[in-house]
Amino acid sequence: MILILRSLEVLGGMTQVFLKCIAELRYRRPSIKDILDQTYEVGISSLPLIVVMGFSSGMVMTLQFGLGLEPFGGKPYVPKVMALSVFLELAPVFTALMGAARMGAGMASEIGSMTVTQQIDAMRALGTSPYQKIILPRIIACLLSFPILTLLTCVLALTSTAIIGVTELGLDLLFITQKFYSSITLWEFLSGFLKSFGFALCVALPACYFGLNVKDGTRGVGRATTMAVVTACVLIFISDYFMTKFYWVIYPYGSQ
């Protein structure tokens, strides 16, 4: 019971953060410099993690599919299966989870520390808006970097699929690339790409909400960080289902 109430409170708080951002945009724009700084911060800094994750998940999945399907003569289907699963689910979800761990945690603890040391209050006291200076640049940075990182994960995962396909499964490189090319239409591409915007919000909003609402000092910052990551992960999984469903409804497969 208390868990339900608490979840509703968090959802309400995050909605409020979101609405305040929209309202803020009516009055003021965050500076391009702040946005680029943050994009660099969240995007570039998570590159190493994304590279390792994209590459190794592609390799291991290819190997599993290849060896698993071999007895049934299914090896030629591996490129298509990989291309579809990477574009539709693996890349957006894995990238978002990495984002929650890397950027969500970083943002929550940074904003949380600013809250407990009264830096957020100081911004307001100086007649400026923390939403313009702190919150919006971070949310926009996530919205910019998540889709790009997701595409990067796609490319890396499929590159590793090609490598493992040729070296371990004995498939032809030309065959693999042709299969990739024919499997991924605009529909598959957009499915994952559009989701990544939703996932960016699933990571950024909890980080900002928990960061802004830190109580009891340093211990609170730690708790806020944990809560931001947990909430982001839960939201990613739940919203994935609904976004997929929604996408199927507005843009049914095969109607292209």
């Binding site: 009055y27 600013m114 040391t117 009264q118 830096q119 209050d121 100081a122 307001r124 006291a125 100086l126 007649g127 400026t128 808006s129």
Partner: protein
């Protein structure tokens, strides 16, 4: 003498609680143009809460706060922004932005609100820092400064936009006599420039030196008022309260 002047800020029957905890029952006082009002009270009596309500960082339950023609108790967040340029809050601990240097901290309000060029702003910053006895600190980060220096930078940052009312939250707490004197002199400089202020503290000596009038906050209301001259008398009730003999 200050009483004859115009009212700048007027707090009337302010009431504030956190959850079920009542902090202020009925707080009323005025600040006049050019006056420095001392607000004394024990730790946890809610002095910071009063100051925070005056710049809208805390919402009050009932009562009125009037600043010039503005009804501060009932304005929304967006309308606060221009008013906060006129009321400066000097935070208890400085509240400097720790990822910015001293100079960038001071540029922040200037770039947000003033039309000064970068060179003019930097010149103004150096002048103001020198006024509070800080030299060559522009490129340092807050973590490289002592607590007293941080408080002084916080004071400069809050007042660099030439506000009409300055709220000092325990500016001398936890400082050694030399830093205390520094802060006291800075406050006197601000006062001589004609700024009005509220000085919140436990520090009786500094309060007597800088304030025109002193009020005592106790158990959620203002219980006594005195001039610094009256406080010099050994057994004045406010004096006894602060010194813990009552």
């Amino acid at each position: 003498m200050a009483h004859s002047k115009q009212k700048l800020l007027s707090v009337h029957q302010l009431r504030k609680s956190f959850g079920s905890k009542l902090i202020h029952k009925d707080v009323s006082f005025d600040v006049h143009q050019g006056e420095c009002l001392g607000l004394l009270g024990g730790s946890g009596s809610g002095k910071s809460v009063i100051l925070r309500s005056m710049i809208g960082l805390e919402k009050i339950d009932s009562g009125t706060i009037e600043f010039k023609e503005h009804q501060l108790h009932s304005i929304n967040e967006e309308d606060w922004l221009p008013i906060r340029k006129q009321i400066a809050y000097v935070f208890q601990n400085g509240a400097l932005f720790d990822s910015l240097t001293v100079e960038e901290n001071l540029l922040y309000p200037l770039q947000s609100h003033s039309s000064l060029s970068l060179t003019e702003s930097k010149k103004l910053i150096t002048t103001r820092l020198n006024e509070v006895d800080l030299f060559d600190t522009e490129s340092l980060y807050p973590s490289e400064l002592s607590g007293g220096m941080q408080k002084r930078v916080g004071l400069v940052r809050a007042t660099i936009l030439d506000p009409e009312l300055i709220l000092y939250d325990e500016p001398t707490a936890g400082l050694d006599p030399k830093n205390t004197n520094n802060i006291r002199d800075s406050i006197l400089v601000m006062k001589s420039k004609g700024y009005s202020s509220i000085f919140v503290s436990h520090d009786m000596a500094t309060a007597i030196a800088v304030c025109d009038r002193i009020i005592l906050l106790r158990e959620g209301s203002i219980v006594a008022e005195a001039t610094p001259q009256e406080l010099k008398i050994q057994n004045h009730p406010i004096r006894q309260f602060i010194e813990g003999t009552q």
